[in-house]
């Protein structure tokens, strides 16, 4: 049962990364100034 739950947690994690990582990137872009948009950093300074 624990193994089954572990598999579902892993599946949930993959779905969350697939769905939310680009969203976090968009949010990160929205927090940057126009001069910093092209700085190549994932997290705004």
């Amino acid at each position: 049962m624990n193994r089954k739950v572990g598999r579902w947690v892993a599946a949930d994690f993959v779905v969350l990364v697939f769905g939310l990582f680009p969203v976090l990137w968009i949010i990160s872009l929205s927090l940057k100034t126009p001069a910093d948009v092209g700085d190549g950093r994932l997290i705004p300074s």
């Binding site: 739950v5 599946a11 769905g19």
Partner: protein, 288 residues
């Protein structure tokens, strides 16, 4: 007196039904021929005016392989979306933990404006715009300056954006599959893989076809992602039919050709719909 007089016109009128049955009198045929001849110049001009842009648009789209590129993008993106959408739907349907969180998180991409998503993918992958992906993998060239990487990134952006929609449609189909059938098959010793292929997929045939139809129609008209990733439609090597129509209509002001391309896109979309409905048997129960 007028009641009894038989005029030549009246005589002609009494003969008309018989004449019609035999293809008309010689005089009627001559009049019809004259009518066609009088109308012919105007009809030929009208056909040339409307037909030439359509024929030229077909030729242009075939010459520039825009149609083939659009079909390729449509087929690849819809195929990936179907597989990922089915996996996502299964996770959303059967997840033991965090089902609400997964359902909410997975639907967020579909709520993001396509242009915003396309800009985010461009700013992530473009070396010229300082994207983090080329820096992360030490790519020396900008992927968005090359044809196939740009198409690949556009497909990825489309897949990310619209897989939740596909999953939502498939989730509705999954909820129609009775659990009793799975239980019975499990008791009979069927594996999860066998239950999926022998029970779930056959019962989900109509929802799958509906999802494929919706997404194929949508993917064929792809515009935003390609437009943004190809530097606002300037990179002609990644042009799709929608971008071709836009460039002809608004950039080059070829109003006839641009309109003809729009009509062609509509005809293609209608053909896809007919293919799905008639060819793949996507009919409502009342039509069977």
């Amino acid at each position: 007196m007028s009641e009894t007089t038989t005029t030549p016109a009246a005589t002609e009128a009494t003969r008309t039904p018989l004449a019609k049955r035999h293809g008309g009198s010689e005089r009627a045929r001559a009049e019809r021929r004259l009518g066609w001849m009088l109308v012919a110049p105007a009809a030929i001009v009208m056909l040339a005016v409307t037909g030439y842009p359509i024929i030229y648009a077909i030729w242009l789209s075939l010459q520039r392989s825009d149609l083939g590129r659009t079909v390729l993008i449509t087929v690849v993106s819809v195929a990936i979306e179907l597989v990922l959408g089915m996996l996502l739907a299964l996770v959303m349907h059967r997840a033991l933990v965090g089902r609400g969180l997964v359902r909410t998180a997975s639907l967020i991409p579909y709520g993001i404006v396509t242009v915003v998503a396309a800009f985010a993918w461009r700013l992530a992958f473009s070396s010229a715009d300082g994207g983090f992906v080329p820096a992360l993998f030490n790519w020396t060239t900008d992927p968005l300056t090359k044809t196939w990487p740009t198409i690949g990134i556009a497909i990825m952006a489309e897949v990310w954006k619209t897989t939740p929609f596909m999953a939502l449609l498939l989730l509705a189909g999954l909820s129609l599959v009775p659990d009793e059938l799975h239980e019975a098959a499990r008791v009979d010793g069927a594996s999860a893989w066998q239950r999926f292929w022998r029970i779930t997929i056959p019962l989900m045939r109509i929802p799958i076809l509906v999802a494929l139809l919706f997404r194929t129609l949508d993917a064929f008209r792809i515009f935003d992602s390609i437009y943004i990733l190809s530097n606002t439609g300037q990179n002609r090597d990644v042009e799709t039919v929608s971008i071709l129509g836009y460039n002809q209509l608004l950039n080059q002001l070829n109003l006839g050709l641009g309109s003809a391309i729009s009509v062609l896109i509509f005809i293609c979309v209608a053909l896809i719909a007919v293919l799905f409905i008639k060819g793949f048997g996507l009919q409502t129960s009342g039509e069977r």
